[in-house]
């Protein structure tokens, strides 16, 4: 069975304000995002019949509550996923006649990922047995350990990884609503002299940790043709996972055979019938520079251990052969807790040609990658094409 190429398209996208310490409810941000994305498409909420909330733990009563919010009509497709795989699964559901208009959405407010998540209490809080916060190992600590291991195994210079936030800041400066663009450019020296967070990672090597929401609308080809803007076609997409969340650690950590990202990327590229050289623009999950290096290796843009060299050669940066995270990514645009849909939204905007100052020269094919746990956990790959 082939993937139902172009059976559906991304027809609407929207991002709310992305900021720290917003006084909003998650629901209010999600609703604003859904309304905004439907308006971007020129569709009414009464046409929505599929829902993919991107809450990390998604109970079905969440789908039910949103069905009520959207008018109390039958919703016929309820799913979970990430910013890449949800679009692929929505396309599949639409092709199978299970839905016509699917909304994918996420918002976060006042649930930080960083060390702020742990509030001081009068007694030691009890958490599940193998929970990593017992050891103070929040996300930057995990990625610090993986960065350390990667640099040890492959001899990567710290300057190569420090260049990534410099480039992302430059990208964000071309995006008026990015969180860090207005702060101006930074240098590798700035990055390496910023406050140490967890060796070897400095403050400017860590992602943002902010509030905000977004939504993506996927509609059938027939509906897409009548939408306000040009459709962005779904060519293929897949997802994969293979282990629990930050509890079991496999050896070797950097597995030459590849892990979840390898698997879903090979599937997505096969479905789409595209090769690596055909990608004009990418949105790759980029919580830390080591994540990007491993993304590239697992996706097959280079071999294990060569990801940092690939970054050093500049292929991802403006003017490179595959400009990536042109919005500034998770370090300079926004990291709102579950931000994988932000990468998809930026690639959609590039393929539509609506990126203003940061618009690339007529990109035709884009890829997005969502992942967790440094390419081992929940992963999704999506290939899209301009109309």
């Amino acid at each position: 069975m082939a993937f139902p190429q172009k059976a559906a398209a991304v027809v609407g996208v929207y991002t709310t304000e992305q900021a720290r310490g917003m006084e909003r409810s998650m629901w209010s941000l999600e609703l604003e995002a859904i309304k905004g994305a439907l308006d971007d498409a020129g569709l009414s909420h009464t046409q929505v019949d599929g829902l993919i909330p991107m809450a990390y733990e998604t109970p079905l009563n969440l789908h039910m509550a949103w069905a009520e919010q959207l008018g109390g009509r039958p919703i016929t497709y309820m799913d979970v996923g990430n910013g890449s795989s949800a679009v692929a699964k929505a396309t599949n559901a639409i092709a199978a006649g299970m839905a016509n208009v699917v909304v994918i959405y996420f918002a976060n407010c006042n649930n930080p990922n960083g060390p702020r998540q742990l509030k001081v209490q009068s007694k030691a809080p009890r958490v599940p047995d193998w929970q990593f916060m017992v050891h103070g190992a929040y996300m930057s600590v995990w990625y610090a350990m993986w960065t350390q291991l990667y640099m040890h195994e492959f001899g990567t210079d710290q300057e190569v990884f420090a260049e990534y936030p410099v480039q992302m800041r430059a990208n964000a400066m071309l995006k008026p609503d990015s969180m860090m663009g207005h702060k101006g450019p930074i240098t590798v020296e700035d990055v390496l002299s910023s406050r140490m967070i967890a060796t070897p990672l400095h403050l400017l090597e860590c992602p943002l940790d902010n509030d905000g929401g977004y939504a993506i609308v996927v509609a059938s080809a027939e509906i897409a043709r009548d939408c306000k803007k040009d459709p962005v076609w779904v060519l293929g997409g897949a997802e994969a996972t293979f282990t629990d969340a930050y509890m079991t650690i496999p050896v070797p950590w950097n597995e030459p055979k590849g892990q979840a990202v390898r698997r879903c990327t090979e599937m997505a590229f096969d479905m789409a019938g595209v090769t690596h050289d055909e990608i004009d623009v990418a949105g790759l999950y980029d919580c830390y520079a080591v994540t990007v290096a491993r993304d590239l290796e697992e996706m097959g843009f280079c071999k294990l251990g060569e990801g940092a060299d690939y970054m050093k050669e500049g292929h991802l940066y403006r003017g490179g052969k595959m400009p990536t995270n042109t919005d500034g990514g998770l370090m300079a645009n926004s990291h709102n807790g579950n931000p994988s849909g932000m990468h998809t939204i930026e690639v959609v905007r590039q393929l539509r040609g609506e990126c203003g100052e940061r618009q690339l020269d007529d990109p035709k094919i884009g890829v997005t990658l969502a992942q967790g746990w440094s390419v081992h956990g929940l992963a999704g790959t999506l290939v899209m094409a301009a109309d």
Binding site: K119, P125, W130, I197, A198, L203, P250
Partner: protein, 141 residues
């Protein structure tokens, strides 16, 4: 809220009933890992079934406590209850095989400047004052 430096306020495991033998083992100075009686694989973290053969015929078995440093970080910015002094976090690969046992733990009794990937490490135990739990840590062997 003011933090009392003498009170342990970092998160602690809940001690789920399934894992009770593990927490009892720590009190005796033993680190117990579920070993499959059918295929012999070690399984860490514990699951109801063996990852290799899905057998539920598992036995809590003490390991040597010796291993090597897979990777580490010295954390300068932790959650508030982790204090203002840098703390060490390590992944230690234990010597028992097959199916590697990698333990996440805080580093104690070790000069952080001497840490190197691959160096020998060992498990140690720390009774938490005012709490009904003994925790596991790692140090340079």
């Amino acid at each position: 809220m003011e933090i009392d430096p003498d009170q342990y306020l970092r998160p602690l495991p809940r001690k789920e009933p399934f894992n009770a033998p593990f927490w009892e083992g720590l009190e005796r100075g033993e680190f117990l890992v579920t070993k499959c009686r059918d295929c012999g694989d070690w399984n860490w973290i514990p699951y109801e079934g063996c990852r290799s053969c899905l057998s539920q015929n598992l036995e809590w078995t003490a390991i040597s406590g010796k291993g090597r440093l897979m990777t580490f970080s010295v954390v300068h910015r932790g959650p508030p209850t982790f204090g203002t002094e840098p703390y060490g976090v390590a992944l230690v690969e234990m010597k028992e095989k097959p199916r590697s046992i990698v333990v996440l733990a805080n580093i104690v009794e070790t000069d952080f400047d001497t840490l190197e990937i691959g160096m020998p490490m060992e498990l140690v135990f720390e009774n938490i004052p005012g709490e009904n739990i003994t925790m596991y840590r790692v140090k340079a062997a």
